[in-house]
Amino acid sequence: MKWFFRLTSYAVLILMFSVIVLIILPGVRYFFRPGFFTDFPRASMTEGGVFPSIFGSLILISLVFVIVIPVGLLGSIFIAEFSSKRLSVVLQSLAGTMNSIPSIVYGLFGLSFFCVNLGLRTSLISASLTLSTMAIPFFINSAVEFLRSVPKELREGVIALGANRFETTLMVIRSSKNGLLTTLMLTLGRAFSETAPILITGAVFYATKLPSKLTDPIMTLPTSIYAIIMNLGETARWMAQGMASMMTLVMIVIYSIVQILRRRTNG
């Protein structure tokens, strides 16, 4: 019995490990090509670098960060601290439900609401708003748990010392900051890797310059990987491979940080 379980588990382990290795290793050597990180792609992506995609992804994530922090954090605070039991159950299950909606549906919503209805067209702002709509429920779902985990005694202690609601909330945030940071990193990591929603609301295959206004379309790492693989040949594949390695490494770094934060909270 035991050997069967062990065999399956090790088979899975080896498989998963090989997937990671086969994705990262072939691409790493392209990092050392001169200009990989700083040049624009040239000659149909057969030469040059991936700078505009990196820039696009970074700008996108920054905008999502700016939108998600206030709405997500404040929303979580409301659910954890201020709302009645019934309302918080309703809101939490709403957030949970939104979490399980397929990402392409968010893309459709973004397309019909932000791009067409609000007239924002294929642009950086449409893509960020769409991604934020996806990211906020994800953030709230996780952040509420962390805020709730602050023990009651701590809260009561601070109130006994004369703090008002606002100051109590600050204290709760400070004590769950590791958990909140974890949630933030996971949310940004999620936004970084998503492709479907931004494919139809904000991204283009090739732009000659960096986006200079919010209404400009952008190149991003995931959409460029998709575009190269589906549209260009073997000669451009190296660029997609490099980007795939880069993205996976970034996610590994994010998860490592999350693991460190987790270990710190658990003493």
Partner: protein
């Protein structure tokens, strides 16, 4: 910290005024457009150009939606699109920028050199499913037939000239790009596909259609049955129905029709519509 710095850069960049030229459309024309945009950028450094090649229909839709400046297309407008254009008081100027033949490609190891349009029709409507039905000397293997997806102008031309309006068999696999078709055929011994001539490389074999080779001469003389012009459309109604004189679209069009622009058409493997010598 780094993120707020980037935000600052974005704000500063917003203050810099730059003109944007949005080009969308044909995947077939894409390699030409890429060369054009790169050269155009060097000639007009103030201009930002964005390029996409998801298919002719995407370009024409974008022109109708007002979300692009230039639409590349490997087909002319459909009747429905012309109606839409009139209904919205728009006028899409069609410019022929190159000529192209649709090459029918198979794997170099497959023992067939020529094919008829009727056979192609039967394969793509699903009446023929194995190579031995095409030619008894060929192996009895399933034909892996590929097609461009419905956004493609190349597909629309195929629909008109080969399928003659009939429905595509569900066995046919839709691919997103011409390059994907080249790769699939190069890797699969029993594959067949069709792409613009400019995409053909030594990895695949281009068949004679009705006994005629897809060469430049045969396309120009009209002998090759699957020839077609490649177009660039732009919306004249944006310029009050007068030919644009002093803006980025005018500059771009002047460039692509000039001998330097047409030389790039040749470089991409297509047939220039106008002269390439000064």
């Amino acid at each position: 910290m780094r993120k707020s710095l980037l935000l600052l850069i974005l704000v500063i960049a917003t203050l810099i005024n730059a003109e944007t030229l949005v080009i969308k459309g044909s995947n077939t024309v894409y390699p030409i457009a890429q060369l054009w945009v790169e050269q155009f950028q060097k000639m007009y450094p103030n201009v930002t150009a964005t390029l996409e090649g998801a298919g002719s229909s995407t370009g024409i839709s974008a022109l109708l939606n007002g979300t692009c400046d230039i639409a590349n297309s490997s087909r002319f407008l459909k009747a429905g699109e012309v109606e839409q254009m009139h209904k919205n008081s728009r006028y899409f100027v069609p410019l022929v920028i190159a000529y192209d033949g649709i090459a029918v490609i198979v794997n170099p190891n497959l023992g067939i050199d020529s094919i008829s349009i009727e056979t192609l029709n039967k394969i793509y409507t699903g009446q023929i499913t194995e190579w031995s039905q095409v030619d008894p000397k060929l192996p009895k293997k399933t034909i892996a037939a590929y097609s461009r997806n419905t956004a493609s102008g190349t597909f629309e031309v195929w629909l008109e000239k080969v399928l003659k309006g009939e429905k595509l068999s569900p066995r046919i696999q839709m691919l997103e790009s011409s390059q994907a078709e080249i790769e699939s055929v190069a890797k699969n011994q029993y594959a067949i596909a069709y792409t613009g001539m400019g995409y053909v490389t030594s990895q695949v074999k281009a068949l004679k259609v009705e006994g005629i080779d897809p060469t430049i001469e045969n396309v120009l003389s009209g002998k090759y049955p699957l020839s077609r012009p490649l177009f660039v459309f732009f919306d004249l109604s944006r310029f009050n129905n007068m030919w644009p004189e002093n803006n980025v679209i005018a500059d771009y069009i002047r460039f692509i029709l000039s001998p330097e622009g047409q030389k790039l058409v040749e470089k991409a493997g297509y047939i220039p519509a106008y002269g390439t010598s000064k």
